[in-house]
Symmetry: C2
Amino acid sequence: MSEARTRAPLAIVSGSGTLPFAVAEAAMKAGRDVVLFAIRRAADTARVAAYRHHWIGIGQLGRLRRLAHAEGCREMVLIGGVVRPPIRDLLLDIEGLRFAWSAARAFGGGDNHLLSSLIAHLEGYGFTIRGAHEIAPEIAVRVGPLGSRVPGPAEKADIARGLAVLAAISPFDVGQGAAVAGNRVIAIEGPEGTDQMLLRIAEMRRTGRLRTPARTGVLVKAPKIGQDRRVDLPSIGPNTIDGAAKAGLAGIAVLSGSSIVAEPERFAEDADRAGIFVVGVGPDGLYE
Amino acid sequence: MSEARTRAPLAIVSGSGTLPFAVAEAAMKAGRDVVLFAIRRAADTARVAAYRHHWIGIGQLGRLRRLAHAEGCREMVLIGGVVRPPIRDLLLDIEGLRFAWSAARAFGGGDNHLLSSLIAHLEGYGFTIRGAHEIAPEIAVRVGPLGSRVPGPAEKADIARGLAVLAAISPFDVGQGAAVAGNRVIAIEGPEGTDQMLLRIAEMRRTGRLRTPARTGVLVKAPKIGQDRRVDLPSIGPNTIDGAAKAGLAGIAVLSGSSIVAEPERFAEDADRAGIFVVGVGPDGLYE
């Protein structure tokens, strides 16, 4: 990486949630200028205002290219949540349209495929795409427990089974999460996302569809195998703790190194307060 | 199969839904007596009353054994839905308790494992467990379309992908259903069941989480690989058509020979009225 490249302001294409700001703060702390390219209807308007920024529609790739070049950006991070908008809201400019056309032709189904195409397209503009966890290593979940609680033997078995089921569905580009309780897979995440999957577990308990005792089971999150780890890493936040607690789970396990959390220390305190464990694990499900 | 065995009245252990009555009618049409062992809180009280029957609690294996022997039953079918009850409602008798104990010791997680243990236990009592589709071949879905609609090329690809993802999760004993739209896996069924999974898809469309055009995508159902096909075969009914239509899917595909439908002709009419296809397919997803 040339010095000119890392001295140039970092372009942060910012979706929803607090992660874009965690990345911005980390970059600025390291002495780097940042420019946020805030995605309309996704990024937090109030928080974006505190940074140098431009608003872009999700289909405006030409606008993104022009503005980021004008700002002198060479490196770019894509971070935060984006819900696929309806075609009519895409505000496609010519370049966005060209991308959408080529992506649709090659479209294999899931998010992973779409994001790979997008990265290749942005690199074609001359930007280097960096992972959020490279720019802000402090947000990458490390191996080991985040709070004071740790999984017991039953939870360790659930974690291993959750990683195994995620590996099995990985080629299908479905989702990055599953929940396992008492060695039984009780949910596999699809496009509904983690929060909705946790709500479903809470509902299954409420209606008696699930009979596992309260405070058993684990939410397991891991990126898809072969996924480009520069975008769409599994992330956890306050919602995840709240959802896992309401779903009656004992804890949360994420693949270390390639899962992210916006404010690790505050997150650990929240987890302790909620009485659930959060642990970064290796691909084998172990953390010791 | 000895003649004495097939002449003896058939014991139909009956859960919820209309399938137990379809099996009873088919057996009676073939000249056989039937006795329903209706599961409390599951079987349809009004319809059960039309047949020779006994009510049993779901944990009362000793009561089932005694009554079925007293009725002279040699063969037994287990059919219809049962939601796992809370332990306190199990009404376990001594033999039920013994089974629950051995099943819990060997318990690997999902329904498949539990049902295999139950079959082995009932066979230990001297009963022969038969599949509902053996007794009533007319309820087994055959290869080919059930109504007048058929899948197009995109739907055929979705069906193949659905069967592939079900095969991939099969070792995890999760569920028997998945939904695929535009080659993208949009839901994998867990303990919530097919109806709830379809509701989830409808909700994802409503909230804009899913953007596939209306009337695309397929619900795919198949038994788990290696599953004992005498119990818990994937079933479809009027609810499935209604749910698939509301989820905006184009149709339903089930593995032929090992999926069941209570009233195939009425079901085909319902599907035509709802404008969706229903097709029985081979393991390769083909039906032609």
